[in-house]
């Protein structure tokens, strides 16, 4: 692996200029020196997304699917057009298979309830992996406790890859669903989803993919992956919080009971009986976060205009550059060194607790995540209480990484 040529990065994707699209990263008043390396937790919003949300509030707001007046009709059209944008973004053919949720956690809970309570019985098994975020563990654990099913865990190797042989062995006639992350939020590993789906489907087992760290960072083609559910959050794709997406195959969604009941998800209600609406409305009870959905649509268009392939390539360059520079520091360990890896670097420095590292980096204006990253089983696997995590996105530059590395070196010096 040769040294990174800085020119290649600037030619392919001008992150310095992209940064100017993001007010929080280019605001000269107080954030001039902010090096934001926590996009894995939440990405920043470009000005045009903020403007779109403001414009909606100032000129377009009304409840959707209700009023017959112009404003409501227009709000409905704007909101529903985002469904088509998302379908295009994920290469989904049937727009009704795109469901708006509050976020990834909400969407996984939706499936765990609606799929789980319909199809999972005592003695059944659910397969997840050792590298899941708590939001792809706890809902399944709750389901298992409730119905008497068992959770099976795909082990991970020392470099942070799934043990595919073990995965094959775990799939049985008792397995009702596989729920696995597209990209590990701690280790950065990109899992071989297509292969995993094909294997599960050969045994008629559906697969849910937690795409919270996938969809923002690479082109996702649902028809190619062929997974049964794919989930991501708006605020990790440069959109606002409070909105997320659940893609689900019609065949499953139609057979699942609703998760939440209320307005907008019904055909008719009497005190004797309620008839549910068709998908996607069946899973969208109540007034949704309309402005957030519209903001998400704008964010997706922004990412598409830059190009997901270019973003992915840019992050790979940043990751390689950062990994090389960080591992030159004595006593620094990177957790997760799979060859196929996204822009996430978790590390520890001997003698410096990750929380102390995070606080000291913050002093230098470098924002990273420190802790267990809502993935305590991963911490247990690598026998650490916590790690420091830098995660990259399209607006990060090589200079950002230089600042990270120099700040890590300084923190280490304080403890030496």
């Amino acid at each position: 692996m040769g040294k990174i040529d800085r020119e290649v990065v600037t030619v392919d994707l001008d992150a310095e200029s992209i940064k100017k699209d993001f007010p929080i990263l280019s605001n000269s008043e107080n954030n001039k020196s902010l090096v934001y390396l926590d996009s894995g937790a939440s990405a920043q919003m470009p000005q045009l997304v903020i403007d779109r949300i403001n414009h909606y509030h100032q000129h377009e707001h009304a409840n959707i699917h209700r009023g017959v007046y112009d404003l409501s009709e227009q709000a409905t059209i704007s909101y529903e057009s985002v469904r088509s944008t998302v379908a295009r973004f994920l290469n989904v053919a049937d727009t009704s298979e795109v469901i708006f949720t509050k976020g990834t956690t909400h969407a996984i809970n939706l499936v765990a309830h609606a799929f789980g309570r319909t199809f999972v019985r005592a003695g059944d098994e659910i397969v997840i992996s050792h590298m899941e975020h708590h939001s792809n563990i706890v809902p399944w654990q709750q389901l298992c406790e409730e119905v008497g099913a068992t959770l099976k865990i795909i082990p991970i190797s020392d470099i942070g890859e799934l043990d595919m042989e073990a995965y094959g062995r775990l799939l049985s006639e008792r397995t009702k669903i596989v729920a696995v992350t597209h990209v590990s939020n701690v280790l950065g590993t990109i899992n071989p989803i297509k292969e995993m789906v094909a294997l599960a489907h050969s045994k008629d087992i559906p697969v849910l993919v937690d795409g919270a760290q996938g969809a923002p960072h690479m082109k996702v083609d649902i028809q190619d992956l062929d997974c049964d559910f794919y989930i991501f959050s708006g605020h990790k794709v440069c959109g606002p919080t409070g909105i997320g997406i659940l893609y689900g195959k019609r065949n499953w969604l139609e057979r699942m009971n609703p998760y939440e009941g209320g307005g907008d998800m019904i055909l008719s209600v009497t005190f004797e009986k309620t008839t549910y609406a068709e998908i996607p409305a069946k899973f969208e009870a109540g007034t949704p976060p309309i402005a957030s959905a519209i903001g998400l649509g704008e964010a997706i268009k922004y990412l598409e205009a830059i190009g997901l392939e270019r973003i992915e390539k840019h992050e790979k360059v940043l990751t390689r550059y950062a990994t090389e520079a960080l591992t030159e520091i004595n006593g620094l360990t990177v957790y997760g060194t799979a060859p196929n890896k996204a822009g996430v670097i978790s590390f520890g420095v001997k003698g410096v607790h990750p929380h102390d590292m995070g606080t000291l980096l913050s002093d230098d204006g470098v924002a990273v995540r420190a802790g267990h990253h809502c993935a305590q089983p991963v911490m247990q696997r690598f026998k650490v209480p916590a790690t420091t995590r830098a995660s990259f996105y399209l607006y990060n530059t090589l200079e950002d990484i230089d600042r990270l590395v120099s700040s890590v070196r300084n923190a280490k010096k304080i403890f030496s």
């Binding site: 937790a41 975020h133 708590h134 410096v352 607790h353 990750p354 929380h355 102390d356 606080t359 000291l360 913050s362 002093d363 995540r369 802790g371 267990h372 990253h373 809502c374 911490m379 209480p385 916590a386 304080i414 403890f415």
Partner: protein, 161 residues
């Protein structure tokens, strides 16, 4: 004071040479403190004679803020009456969590360096854990956690997830 300055002041001394480090073999009172969110895990053991802390030791695995706070705490309360230790704990809590205007000149001495923690709400629990473990030991609770009902600063914890 920047975090860096705070670290330089407390860490250079107490983290590299923690005072009263270890566990007393014949402790009359002891407790274990855990901050599950960041993995801090500590033990405080004491000998209490006539309501007075005649000896105290502290040990554990933790971040530097927790370690320095624990080290300085043992030095501060050793030889003091349990009631005084409880009073100092309250003073330390006010120092690290309340607005500056509410903090009165106190007997905390060099522990005043922790006032900077107020601006780092995610780290307050790290500084408070040894003190809450001290109180647990005085009350002879065997284990104290920074979460749930025992949360010293609800809502201020390390980022959940």
């Amino acid at each position: 004071m920047s975090s860096k300055q705070m670290y330089q002041e407390v860490i250079l001394d107490h983290c590299k040479k923690p005072r009263n480090w270890g566990q007393l073999s014949n402790a009359t009172h002891k407790a274990e403190g855990i901050n599950p969110l960041c993995g801090d895990h500590i033990w405080v053991s004491m000998n209490v004679v006539d309501e007075k802390i005649s000896d105290i030791q502290y040990e554990g695995e933790s971040c530097a803020i927790c370690m320095a706070s624990g080290s300085m705490m043992t030095a501060k309360v050793k030889g003091k009456a349990c009631s005084e230790a409880i009073d100092l704990t309250e003073q330390f809590r006010v120092l690290t969590t309340e607005e500056e205007s509410k903090v009165e000149p106190s007997g905390l001495g060099s522990l005043a360096v922790f006032s900077g923690i107020r601006d780092l709400p995610s780290r307050v629990k790290c500084a408070l854990l040894p003190w809450h473990t001290l109180i647990a030991a005085i009350n002879s609770q065997s284990e104290i956690s920074t979460e749930g009902d025992k949360d010293p600063v609800p809502g201020s914890g390390t980022k959940k997830g």
